[in-house]
Symmetry: C3
Subunit: 361 residues, 3 copies
């Protein structure tokens, strides 16, 4: 159950208890994970069944037979793209309409159906909309088609996180944690101490920092071969929607240490989907415009970022556990200057939650 659904936010800075934002695109899966099997995933507290149709589309339906609630992902997908419930045989087409009740073949089934969810496949991701279908505008999806071009290579990863999705967003908004949580893999002393410029544009929030005179962090040594060369490191981390965070970096090497090249861009796409109020699904694409088309480097980035992001996952889960168990009535988070972006993001989420509640009322 969604304990918080329909409740008013209790704080103007959204937190783990703030109602989830339904009118938003969220990633459901990787494109290449969706085939002719019936998959199951819970998104915003709703259990879904989804599969690829014979004509190559993707369908996501309520994973609960309208009759007695049997989970449809444990049922049968027929060649004609209908799902037949594994309990009493009710059969649904891809619109969610019941087209057959075997024990009552002459029955009018028009009142029987299950919810179909808007889906957009935009490789390598599949997106779902669990809010008002009338508002499911594909134009709201982020543009990341460039990632499929030959100019870019990328590693990927996925984690199930036992923590609220906002904690993942906040983690990404304040990269002063690089040095303390991840050490040399991502952090350098000056990086943590560099100033941050926050820019709010509509419902997006960008954090920008730049620092110079330090080498690229260890994670990128292999792909850049920059060694100890001092660089200018630019980093944008941008909250785009409750389901998507964009992190664009740039390493400037005016000396052109390697073959005269002066710019290197790492670009990380973070896809964040609330599974329940206190658990999340988290995918990422860790892209680079240097040494692309190198499968071994792609695998290296998948492995290396999984190790690093597991530290984020741990941090988020440990903090969630503190909220759940540490009884400290006076506890209120203290904000420091580097939280400016995250706090602005959390105010936006509160506003979105308020708007959804007003819309329902």
């Amino acid at each position: 159950m969604n304990e918080m659904a329909g409740k008013a936010p209790t704080t103007d800075i959204a937190d783990r208890d703030t109602p989830l934002i339904r009118n938003c695109w969220y990633v459901l899966d990787w494109s290449d994970e969706v085939g002719r099997e019936l998959n199951n995933r819970m998104v915003l507290n709703q259990s879904l069944v989804y599969f690829r149709t014979r004509d190559g589309g993707i369908v996501a339906l309520q994973n609960r037979c309208a009759h007695r609630g049997f989970p449809l992902h444990r049922s049968t997908l027929h060649d004609d793209d209908t799902i037949q419930c594994g309990y009493h045989g009710l059969t649904y087409d891809t619109s969610g309409a019941c087209v057959k009740v075997p024990s009552a073949l002459d029955m009018d089934t028009s009142s029987i159906g299950i919810q179909r969810y808007p889906i957009v496949e935009k490789p390598p991701m599949v997106w779902i909309w669990t809010g008002d279908p009338a508002r499911a505008d594909p134009g709201l999806l982020p543009d990341y088609d460039w990632v499929n071009s030959d100019e870019w290579g990328y590693g990927t990863g996925f984690y199930h996180v036992k923590g609220n999705y906002l904690a993942i967003h906040e983690n990404l908004m304040d990269i002063t944690h690089f040095q303390y949580l991840h050490g040399a893999a991502l952090g350098t002393p000056k990086h943590a101490e560099s100033k941050i410029t926050v820019t709010v544009d509509g419902d997006t929030v960008d954090n920008y920092r730049v620092n110079e005179g330090e080498p690229v962090p260890q994670l990128h040594q292999r792909a850049t071969r920059l060694g100890d060369a001092p660089i200018i490191r630019h980093a944008h981390s941008t909250f785009i929607t409750p389901g998507f965070h964009d992190a664009l970096g740039k390493f400037e090497d005016p000396a052109g240490t390697v073959d005269g090249r002066t710019e290197y861009q790492p670009h990380i796409l973070h896809f964040i989907t609330p599974e329940t109020q206190y658990t999340s699904l988290y995918w990422w694409i860790f892209a680079r415009d240097f040494t692309p088309r190198d499968a071994e480097l792609d695998a290296f980035y998948s492995d290396a970022t999984s190790k690093v992001f597991e530290e984020d996952k741990d941090a988020i889960e440990w903090i969630e556990d503190q909220w759940a168990r540490d009884d400290r009535p006076g506890y209120r988070e203290k904000h420091v200057p580097s939280d400016e972006g995250a706090v602005k993001m959390r105010r936006i989420v509160t506003r979105l939650a308020e708007a959804e509640r007003a819309g329902e009322a």
Copy 2:
């Protein structure tokens, strides 16, 4: 704790949240499982200790010492049929009266006692009554003495089910699930599509269906040796009480394919006991009047029905999990014609729950 105890039913069609029916006989155990050990089982949210007395009777008591709540099934059964608590030695006779407080031998113990429950042993089952003892009429028990005669053989089984007991009843009331959940073991296409006649008699509900022209299902091939012979298949599935469902079948073979025999009766007794609001105890006797007195066939039916009924157990537990986790506020079960019997049964249970609440008030 029993979350629902004392609450009014919220729907006229009883569901998993409807208060349990206390004034009813429920099976506690198999007769031959009760000996001189102290057994423990939870029935309708109450923990019980039970054992066989030296004179061969069966006693069931509150499994909680009146003094400090120590579980009596972890205590000592003396040769004189008293139980001595394993914590401070309080001793209870078979009526539940405290007959000794070792640290106060001269104390008047008449105010100290634990609840004794009405028990009836009717082999091969032991029945318990957790409601008003004054209403525990053995005459309300179903008659199944025939099962012990030489004319019948049977296999047996038991499952602990993580689901509400009504879901087991409903499963049994609508056997259109045979084909979809169990496949060829029990189902045949025409069987699922045959019409059902529902008869309500007092608080009992019978579903009757007949279909013809198909062979006996696989489960019965070995014992009937009917092979492909087309038969007329009659099936009654009858809700008798919240604790008991009776399923009587008949295969007619007018051709007398095997030694001229024209009728075969499978007769299954389903004993269903709520353990808690959302978990159940489920025993069955799968009897037949064909090839009785065949221990190997008995074992075959025990094994084969356990495999089939595990599919029912899975279905019930998966559905229970949907109710617990899938947040779908608008979800209401849709009823189809084959649910007529189950819906009538569930209305009866609501009425029984209302009557119990009125009686308590």
Copy 3:
């Protein structure tokens, strides 16, 4: 969360649901377990981090960074005794004051801090106070310095108990359970049946019993070598505070069976700390003034008492489980004469809880 915090006691005889008593010293750990690692323990529902400073003191702090709640026991202890949070690097001194925010080095951090708890090390135990610091008087601590003298030897033990701390106190107050729960290790028939004298002195409650004519229980046979010699057995079990129970025994052997010795004192210190409302931390020192300075006997007592006390742990956890699961609305504990001390203790605890609530209001 502490479900009961701030609520009024619902009974004059405190029980598992009575709010925990905060203004009291509780044991946090063994002295020799506290070194330069960051330890973590939950006490009265609050998560703590604690460690030994370079000058040999012990510091216990709120285990939750003021910024985003990261657990500090998973952070870094620097050589200057500061803890630097493993997430964004906020740094705390031993007073709990934040002395550095790396991403805002010029920031005024005076409003950022974490709670420091009063600690007293009194070997071999470390004590903590989670209530009003102004009331944390070390003079309230029990005196057990004698245990460190050469005249005494001791075994030790520790258990995490899934039960409310009062159940441990009550277990210790009524030693009629020796014979039934522990059998010959601690009990003898006359011991269980001997009369008890209860003396209340302020907020302490002493139970005293004496019985004669039986040998020392098995546990003490090896260290006393008294064999079958009939002794006079004195036993005090005394509730001192919600965090401490003192059990002083004396075996009198007027015949001087062994080398003419006529008195033997076992003296057991029980340190009981509520971890949460329904779980507890339990340490003990099982001391003797006979055959001291014998490491092998110390080890024997550690092993043997751990075995015996595991039976108490089991009893307490089983009873807690009954409270949680057995739905028996009419159940009220029955008190017998040997409960006099425990009931008086529980009334005192209710009074303490009322006083704390009044003080907060």
